[in-house]
Symmetry: C2
Subunit: 324 residues, 2 copies
């Protein structure tokens, strides 16, 4: 029988989404969602996950036609199919979990795993903005900043399987913000949704530009804690302070992107995730800073492109693409 | 007839070195040296170069047994064998020079070209410290800072052939030094021989640690301009200020290396060039800063290794290795 389907699994801290995907990259039925954080024992979680996959196969009449399962997960290691020390997973901290081995045995299917940003890069290459590109960098701007680097048509996994942690390169070397990872000044502490909200709080507290704009800023009226979405809505309403927050965030991102280009000279950089949806508010300052900071050989030659994958399905599609 | 030899050509700003190399990586006779800077017309330079190669082949009795010519050159592009806008070459500025095409026609041999740091990486992989390594980063610490990145056993050239310009990633984001390239705060402005000498001048002028060391520093007695070699000799004599200069330089290097590791997760980083010969004076602070700055998954796992290739032959060997 032809194996015309793959299962995409997106393991997040709170929920895990499971979709059945056909060769064209269509998620053929409503994805199933299970809680990731119900258990502290990984085996109980994988019992539930394999049950959910079996049910999905039965419902979609795809049992026996499935080529394999692709998983995107935090701290996922492509080489050995493990999740290593994932503090955001209730069953993941301080352990190495043999995800591919456990699940493959339960399902009788090949299981491939990588981290979520690498899965997103594979998704872009297979179904999205990067079709036909051999060299690009995928940046996911969500709660954190993730990255997947593609060189010569292949995701860069490095010596140990953990390459591509661009969110944890240094955006601000001195007096930088403390990142969740324990380092100082990580890009993630500035260009994530959490980083943007923090910048907004700092700008409001510092009364930046109160005189310059001489106007009521909706941003100032928001009660703590400010969220990245509120900053976006304020910017949409023309709030100059909210735009400054995006400018600052975009510039920090662009300065780092310039350094990434010096590394792998990509054809394009593809942006995905909640912050990327702010569009020009963040893209324009990022592009400007990037072009100011690059060697002349690259100026105005490396476009910032938005992902065209629907956000609801992108993580599933990316993970599923691993299984082809 | 067996093709048991390759020609390695190292084009530098002042001189060009040409060596005949056998399969074991031995430069089989004294390299020939011609001036690079005698001409402003590239065709006259390539006339001389091809003549020198022919003579070397005749002298070493290798004519007819040569597999090809490998060239390492500033701003060399592997994809199309050109040198693009090389300001340090008297015949190279603001032009694209079809080196491989011109020389291949003259010699009747295949010619492969890349930039000098990429050639060094190929040399390490073929004959040096990186034999058997699939993922490593080569850093050349000379007048400038060059780099060659190897991923999955292949040099990273990127979309356009110019990947791996790690000397022009940002080491100091604010109030950084102006680099020769026009950018601000490049690693090259700190971790090169010129950067080190500049740090020495700045430290002497600022009277850093005069009290702390309460001693005559040989470094202070050197008349301008201080060279990197003089700093090294002072450090060898126990000059605390000279050691501080190396500490500062090594830390800047190590901080940047930590970011490079987050990119490609290499098995090791290999250092080559004049400054690398300062050994522990620069390696120790670099290692320390790198390990402080990396995510915990990499701490103490990515060694800094010195090249084992003899400096006199390394550039020729690296270039020659391209031709196999």
């Amino acid at each position: 029988m032809e194996q015309d389907f793959v299962v995409g699994v997106d393991i997040g801290g709170q929920t895990t989404k499971i979709g059945m995907v056909d060769r064209k990259g269509t998620v053929i039925s409503e994805p199933r969602i299970i809680r990731s954080d119900k258990h502290t024992d990984e085996f109980l979680f994988f019992d539930e996950l394999s049950e959910a996959i079996d049910k999905l196969a039965a419902e979609t009449n795809t049992a026996g036609k499935i080529k394999g399962v692709g998983i995107g997960a935090p701290n996922g290691n492509y080489y050995d199919g493990t999740i290593v020390h994932a503090p955001n997973l209730t069953w993941g901290g301080r352990k190495t979990i043999k995800v591919a081995e456990i699940l493959s045995e339960k399902l009788g299917l090949p299981v491939t795993l990588t981290n979520d940003a690498n899965a997103a890069a594979v998704g872009e290459m297979t179904y999205g903005s990067a079709i036909g590109m051999k060299n690009f960098i995928m940046i996911t701007l969500g709660t954190g900043v993730g990255s997947g680097i593609v060189i010569n048509g292949q995701v860069v996994y490095g010596h140990d399987g953990f390459a591509g942690e661009l969110g944890h390169t240094t955006a601000v070397r001195y007096n930088g913000r403390l990142c969740n990872c324990g380092r100082i000044g990580c890009l993630e502490a500035y260009a994530s949704a959490i980083g943007l909200a923090r910048t907004a709080r700092e700008f409001v507290e510092a009364n930046v530009d109160r005189d310059e704009f001489n106007q009521r800023s909706p941003l100032r009226e928001i009660s703590e804690p400010v969220t990245s979405k509120e900053v976006y809505l304020a910017a949409l309403q023309g709030d100059g302070l909210a735009k400054k927050v995006f400018d600052y965030t975009g510039r920090k991102l662009g300065e780092s992107l310039a350094d990434f280009v010096a590394f792998s000279a990509p054809q394009a950089i593809i942006l995905f995730g909640g912050l990327a949806k702010a569009g020009d508010f963040i893209i324009k300052p990022a592009e400007q800073a990037m072009n100011e900071q690059m060697l002349s050989i690259w100026k105005d030659k490396v476009p910032l492109i938005l992902s065209i994958l629907p956000e609801s399905d992108a993580a599933i599609l990316g993970a599923s693409a691993l299984a082809w």
